[in-house]
Amino acid sequence: LEKAELAVGDGMIREVTTACLICMQRCPIAVGVDSEGKIRYVRYLTMEGYDEFFACCGRPQLIFELPFLRERIKKPLLRVGKRGEGKFKEISWDEALRLLTEWIKEYWDEPWRIVAMSRSGADSGFFHTFFKSVVGTPNVTKHCDTCHTGLDWAGYFLFGKLVSPSSLIPDYANADLIVIMGRNPTQGIVATAWSKLFAESRARKARLIVFDVKRDRLCELADRCYIIPPGTDLAIVLAIMNVILEEKLYNSEYLIKWTNASMLVYEDTLEPVKMDVNPLQKDKLTYLVYDEATGEYKLKPEAKKPALEYEGEYNGRRVKTVLLVLKDAVKKYTPEWASRITGVPAEEIRWVARELARAAPRAFIDHVYKAARYYNEGMFNRVRMIVNVLLGSMGVKGGIAYPGGKPKFPSPFEVIPIETRKPGGESIPEYWKKRGVKNIHKKCFSQLVEKTVVEGKPYPIGLLIIYNENIVSHILGAREFIEALKDENKVKHIVVIDTTFNETVLFADLVLPTTFFIEQDGATLHYAKKGGLGQIVAIKKVVDPPKDVDAKPCWQILWEVAKRLGLTKAEYDPRKVWEKQVEKYGGLKELLEKGVIPVAKGLKYHPWGGKPLPTETGEIELINVKLLREYREYLGKESPLNPLPTWIPPAWMRETGGQLADDQFVVVDAMSALTATNTFMRFSGIVRDAMEKRREYGVLIHTERAAKLGIRDGDLVRIKGPGGEMIAKAIVTDGVHPTVIVGPHATNFGELLPKEVEVVKADGSVERVRIFAKGGGYGVNTNLLGLPVFGKTLVVEEGARTAQCDFIVKVSKA
């Protein structure tokens, strides 16, 4: 005891600088470890000028508990029961690697039948590149189609390119008014970085208005908080857009300079009246406008004052500006109309719009992260972005800014010699693209993998290998997926590399235990990025795994397989790779000494992010010229591909007309800053208790609705969805919209799967491992309740991304 106490601060503590990989943020941290290998502290690795964007939140503080989770996988395991039964026997690493090598060899001539999936972060880059470039399969994916794909495509309409969560940054620090809907920077997936910026701006008195389906810490911080029905944010932003256009609250100068708002289009077809080569911008087109200064039609570069609100005749045909087309498109979406859908008083919506305009450009509706909950999220995000553009807040100080640059690392496979080959064969996304799925994100097609597994098309999967990705929990309609996974004719071999038992591991034929990030050196360097700042970080071994855990880093597993396949003779040394990767940025010595190397600083304040956009005009296109041509048939339709802003009711509303029976609810899963994004976090007893204390460990149900069903606080309730059912603990509260039942994401799998795993150990004894031994078990998982239905809960127009929370469940007392 004395020794441990003295150790704090006097040099007996060994401090290791590394980065946290629990979410994708990769915040640099320093971990103090004493001579007995106990973690004594975890602190954020501060660096002057960079601290605005990174932090060490509650999750890395928990790393002292992680290695000892009851659900930890301790040895390589071979399935002995049926898939999904959770019966395994311990095998040696040699046997495990032999099997994996054999199964890869089996499909060496048909590599496309090997499907590799992993989440972002950890060594997923290594994993992806290994399967793409060494094994040669085109079927390597992440699960962003269940996360941000709706956002990606929304951005395409304005910017001509996919807009990921990190490709635009809310400049909270300089904002005067922040309106938040569709996200929660204090609780969301990559909570830390956002909350760091956000909390600081709030403390500096930026005003805050929040729209959400439930009250939590974000509402506590807000000046005003409106609780609205799920998936109706679109109605609010359409009404805000209506007010801004009707009351001419937009930033004219900005719109003329940076957008195609002044573009003249034919009233009947919406086609641009005339487009021509832009003499001022290489490879970009310009267009006809009405010059208010001279009263003539001119190409934009020649006009002194392009009109924003003009309509007239050109060569005998009616023409008008893009801005007027937009104004017409949202004319009917008045605050009164939105009020009927959302319950927010019309005058309050009008007030929000006027306040936004008053504070502009230091005001915005926040950028979001996850956009795969409701059917209409692509449209919601597009309209939200249009509002920011109308305000002139896009790309300016205090508005929505662009991030700084990032380093380019050589691939480890260029550093350490290994045979590579090009991916071959028809990929799963190519197959489904030919069959009507539009806009498939090339790195995000997990739902299509599910479809392939279920339908056996275009081919049965030979080897499904999954690394640190609880895909059964992440995929919508997992029950259907589970049934298919049980069939060896649909998937011949399933291999899972993971740290803890979970929904997916239960289906593995071969389970390979891997180390937590604190127990290994990372295969490659990582880049911690947020806002305009970036830091190169190295994942370093902080502690050894517990004595009874025989786990290997993923890179080591795959490298050993590569050696067995005869693809390399070299030894893989992460530090050699780091050395090469950091060569241009100051060298490995500096990185190891400082813990981080900063590489980019400062947000980019420029409406286009510094250079013309990939749109045809190079400008922000409020109506996208190319996509209008492509998606003309969607005009007038309630579709996210409609080139004009339009109301799309969420699927649950279309189904019910917005009227729910007493036992009907829309089921919504919420992120928690303690469990996201790695589902192993839910197994922590401290996490469970913290969530209970915050009254989020169960499902929130409105007081009046609960009373009608005879449900009291703490009762267990049965939630029955179209795809399955589960039991959860009710938290009765006024702080939730009466329409919804809300619980923390992926903290429950009901009766679907066994909650105990049986492992026959090497000595013949049997160990039973209880899942949810200390944490997890009473939240919700919409993926296990819903069904993947094209055009309803799968948005086929947006790459078959999910609408994971857009369906009705029936709730009763259990």
């Binding site: 830390t192 509402c219 401290i686």
Partner: protein, 215 residues
């Protein structure tokens, strides 16, 4: 004599509970090398715990998560009622507990108007995580991580863990310290200041609250 105190800015707190987890690791949980054990439920025994305050909008902390922990009062009722002198104020102004003198009568727990003391009645394997870590059957409380001062690095674990700058710690009598500056500016308030306990823990109330609106 120094008077150490803490300020919690509730506008910077995003509720990640890093402070609570860090406190559990630093003072409550025991890492045995083969496992990590802590009293159940762990957050109840953390020396700083989140509490959601309800009440009408006119109340200063209504609909806000605050943290319940030892307020390190200048006039601590818990020390006044302690029959053995086990609870005392040290030379830095920290209200502390001498485990050797404590008879476990729990008078301090009843006397504390902030409900800041908890007693774990179970048993735990191994040794406490530090010299002043939680000992079962004694009325546990925040020590401002005074063991770290003795080791030459006096930053309470919760302050070190809060990367959002919501928690600040320092000498209230040192004009240059951040805590003294904030307290002097009048933006931070004590809880139940009318009781006369004169806590050295201050809270910056939510911006939207009645307390802020008055200023």
């Amino acid at each position: 004599m120094a008077r150490y105190g803490m300020v919690i800015d509730l506008n910077r707190c995003i509720g990640c509970l890093a402070c609570v987890v860090a406190c559990i690791r630093e003072n409550i949980a025991r890492q045995t090398g083969e496992d990590v054990v802590y009293p159940e439920p762990p957050v109840l025994y953390a020396r700083t715990k989140p509490v959601h305050m309800k009440g009408g909008e006119s109340l200063p902390f209504s609909d806000t998560t605050v943290f319940i922990q030892c307020q390190h009062c200048e006039n601590p009722p818990c020390a006044m009622v302690c029959p053995t002198g086990a609870t005392f104020v040290d030379e830095y102004g920290v209200v502390r507990l001498d485990h050797n003198k404590c008879i476990g009568c729990r008078a301090c727990m009843i006397a504390c108007p902030y409900a800041a003391r908890t007693m774990y009645r179970g048993s735990l394997p191994g040794e406490p995580p530090n010299k002043y870590g939680l000992v079962p059957n004694t009325p546990d409380k925040c020590t401002f991580c005074v063991h770290r001062r003795e080791a030459g690095n006096w930053v309470p674990a919760c302050v070190e863990a809060c990367a959002f700058g919501a928690r600040m710690f320092g000498d209230l009598d040192d004009d240059k310290s951040e805590v003294a500056r904030i307290v002097r500016s009048g933006t931070a308030v004590q809880l139940l200041s009318g009781l006369g306990c004169d806590p050295k823990l201050f809270y910056v109330p939510p911006l939207r609250s009645a307390l802020n609106a008055r200023r």
